[in-house]
């Protein structure tokens, strides 16, 4: 924390709290604090009030684990969603990212983490009891959309072993060259996997 002699304590408090946010260093925190101090008080009070009600008003869906404002979420409440297809993701924010594609009409299940023995995350720390229950109620397909990292991959493998039985078809979102990217700037792992998993020209 950069110390500024003569800085008023209320400003110092705001700056210190901002600097605990991800990607916000002491200088950026100072800039944000000063900006909020010099713009109309109503703006700063509006932000304060929005932050005040954030935790109070946003919770997680009992069923799928997505963000919700009541008990159930936007997705579980939507009768047009296909409940026999579950896309499994790690975090609630991943659901928002998936939805930006506008193509998927199934439901979601948020694990609230991924297997990571180093961080003490085992199967018991993931939201699997509710997933077991949804699978028992009968689903057709489970799509793994965990992250493309070692831990994300391990999590997908674990879930595939756990649920690939009977009528449940387990799939995984494709890995390969991202849209709009040039081969020149791609890493070799992405490229070699894209080559390995090439698909038929249609």
């Amino acid at each position: 924390m950069i110390h500024f002699p003569g800085m008023p304590a209320p400003l110092a408090r705001v700056v210190e709290m901002f600097s605990t946010l991800p990607g916000v260093g002491p200088k950026t925190a100072m800039r944000l604090g000063l900006n909020l101090l010099t713009r109309p008080a109503s703006d700063t009070l509006a932000l304060a009030s929005a932050l005040h009600s954030l935790h109070e008003q946003v919770s997680f869906c009992d069923c799928c684990g997505c963000f919700s404002e009541q008990g159930h979420c936007h997705f579980c409440d939507d009768p047009k969603r296909d409940r026999s297809t579950i896309c499994v993701v790690e975090q609630p924010v991943d659901v928002l990212m998936m939805e930006r594609g506008h193509g998927y009409r199934g439901s979601y299940h948020v694990l609230q983490g991924r297997l990571s023995p180093v961080d003490g995350m085992g199967p018991d720390q993931l939201r699997l009891v509710s997933l077991d229950r949804r699978v028992e109620q009968g689903i057709r397909e489970m799509i793994m959309a965990t992250s493309a990292t070692v831990d994300g991959e391990a999590t997908a493998h674990y879930l595939a072993n756990r649920y690939q039985q009977g009528a449940v078809h387990v799939s995984r979102i494709a890995r390969g060259v991202p849209e709009g990217s040039e081969l020149e700037y791609l890493d070799e792992h992405t490229l070699s996997r894209a080559l390995d998993q090439r698909v038929c020209w249609q």
Copy 2:
């Protein structure tokens, strides 16, 4: 504003407000909002409360225009400060920056702006009435510490003309090569001014 279908309104509100802060784009705002949602509620409430009291508790010193928590500021209240020397700066934050050097023991005067005809800033928009009064009460030296820009320079010239009379000695903080910089990376204007204003080897 990036739209995320299914994002709860209270989170969207926080994200939207964050994205109005300087240097915070929609993606960073989203990251900050999610961070505040996933960390303990007490952290978010503490930030909300700090922001709530920011404008209420921080004001500007009646005398010098610095940040203050009561009527007068840290610097005007300090009996050890030399009141016969006034360092003139543009913004309250400039005082905090000057104080980081720990060398200056005089007083300050904040203009709350600089002359800028394009932005409608003339002498009447600056805090000059209170500066006139302080000069009348008798000062020894006025140090110009306005910014090293065209507008900052014009402001310093205007003030020098206005106050350089009688016993008042007007000076200006030095321009030149910043500490720790290599000549290779400096712009030509800084370098040519540093050469013009070279000082005797002591």
